[in-house]
Subunit: 411 residues, 2 copies
Amino acid sequence: MMHKENITKKEALDLIRSAWTPASVTEEVAVADAMGRILAEDCHAKYDLPVVRAAGMDGICVNFDLFENGMPDTSEWQRGVQYDRADTGDDFPDAFDTVLPIEWVKTEDGTIRIEPQKMHGPGGRPDGAPQIERGMNVRPAGSMMKKDALLAKKGMRITAFDIAALATGGYGTVKVIKKPRIAFLPTGSELIPAGSIPQRGQNFDANSLMVSAMLREMGAEVTCFPIEADHKNNLKERLAEALKKNDIVLINGGSSKGEEDFNTRILQEMGEFLFHWIKAAPGRPMSAAVIQGKLVINLAGPTIGAYYGVIWCVKELLADWYGCEVPWGHEIEAELTEDLMAPPMSIFMRMRVTDEKEESEKARYFASRIGGGPGRTHPGINQPDANAIYMTEPDQPAPKKGDVIRVIMVR
Amino acid sequence: MMHKENITKKEALDLIRSAWTPASVTEEVAVADAMGRILAEDCHAKYDLPVVRAAGMDGICVNFDLFENGMPDTSEWQRGVQYDRADTGDDFPDAFDTVLPIEWVKTEDGTIRIEPQKMHGPGGRPDGAPQIERGMNVRPAGSMMKKDALLAKKGMRITAFDIAALATGGYGTVKVIKKPRIAFLPTGSELIPAGSIPQRGQNFDANSLMVSAMLREMGAEVTCFPIEADHKNNLKERLAEALKKNDIVLINGGSSKGEEDFNTRILQEMGEFLFHWIKAAPGRPMSAAVIQGKLVINLAGPTIGAYYGVIWCVKELLADWYGCEVPWGHEIEAELTEDLMAPPMSIFMRMRVTDEKEESEKARYFASRIGGGPGRTHPGINQPDANAIYMTEPDQPAPKKGDVIRVIMVR
């Protein structure tokens, strides 16, 4: 099959999806370790809680029979016989059926006196006649958690509160979708590891660190390979090694027309080559293939290009894997402070979003592009003031100053 | 000093802040491990990149002198003598000063021909006269990263892109604020670990798992202690142990008026007792003390109370520690679908936020309370449909149906 060239992001994702299906499987993890994982089963409470019943207040438990004809004489009452202590959440002996608030109980010389009263302040209840009734302040079995109640749904991303609900519902472990294993292969004879001293012609491998951090945040298990120089056979061997234990392999660099740009050529030789060149910049020289049933993506070498490729492509494939959106940044609406261009491809822009300007009727926030713009070049990697990203889409009119656009907050 | 009772959340935080100062220190971590950490120094680029210069396109490098009087005869040109390959980002020999796009170069029988042309499509540039100029397509030293350029600012939460900027700026490690060490002590004779089979009177310790997950997400290093039964001396020993190696200790449960509610009494005995009872529900029976210079908070036992306490109190103290906001959920504006009550204390509510209703002029989202409400009881822990939280504040008018409120999205 012929591969496609110079296609849109959507066309590229469609091609990948038609050639590769995520092989997502499930695994059992401790509820304590389930934070952020995607639940692979509906979970229902296994038990009633309280198992039998529980006091609904701090107080004493009594048998209402003794109160049926009014306040009994308690001068001879003994703890464990006519009454016992029962505090909020506590079970108490079957001989008792009613809980009286501890605020009603006066203790003197080992005997107790019960004085029903209005309750105020800490631990109090709203005003009202302090009528003693059978079963008052007793929570029945299942009042805290009803057996079979739905705790959390299949496909949910587990939050801290869901962990509490699952634990309270009797779960020690839950079934979740296994994380996809993604290998990242930084390639380029010019690359040196972060923290080295650069010589003429050398450049830092920043992408390994950045992409690993992004993918881990997006829910992948990442293996980062060492830097591989531009030697075709070594690159092929390294790719073969990465394919063995991973679901997706990202090869970074060597994706364009340079003499030593071997990676896209390797993808063509080793598997079903899907596409080369994307109508999305930075990062246009990007390609993909399916090799031995695994997906291999050749991301552009420049850092911003690799960043963009992870966002528009790999993040969407992780969403396919998990069957739900991957939370990464959050979208907000902001009013544009300048005209943007509308080139025939999707342009990735870093933005500064503030709420510092005067009130607007359109949006609470204002967005300005950092660097770039018509006639301007792309800004450098270091943009400490950028806090959001925006992507133009091909064949859409150019957004104008005053338009409300949706940006993704990244800071 | 007398402790305070029945105070607002703000009063409680003020009391804590006047009695306890976060002892935040810094540490050096690998840039690769710096994701989400708070930078403790401004970082500036250590080197110019490229170190000398680099090709700005895939192409050949030449000496412009040969082109000064028009296109030279290239029939005898040899690679390494009159020209060489120079691809995007590559350094090239000092004999050359200009890079011509590879698309202009035709190779035939080992000789090259140069044909300047308009460039289209992949790898192309906008239309224009293909005039050859000295230094064209050459990126000077520092054009990618200028020595001393600001990479990231002190107090910033490091993102994946910042990691790339730091690595590209020459950093292998960075100085960040050390995570606060927080101990969590679950207490209660009725508690059993998640996954056990509950007997009459028993309840699951869900809070250890939930609070640990929340605090780790908020940037703390959490040590979770085993469940401790309600024996006063053991509780004191456990607290003393936790104080040794932690900055903050959270004791959970035993904070109210029950007979076995020892924890607040222990706080009173062991240190400077700050307050008991908060005008915030669920979770009103909460107290705090400073013991041996460490902050000890006694969180209410019921799960929703502990959850609320972590959000309004511990999260704010983590922000103090780091000197910046702790990202946890994100706020959005939503239109209320019902009247809410306005009790004299801060009420924590779980909400369902949707965008499924008809267009509103006020907000994009709609918020409805899950359970609760006037005359209704608090909902159970398991509320898989709740995706946001809302907190009423004391002495504020009751929010009405149609009002736009700010809620925190948690799902």
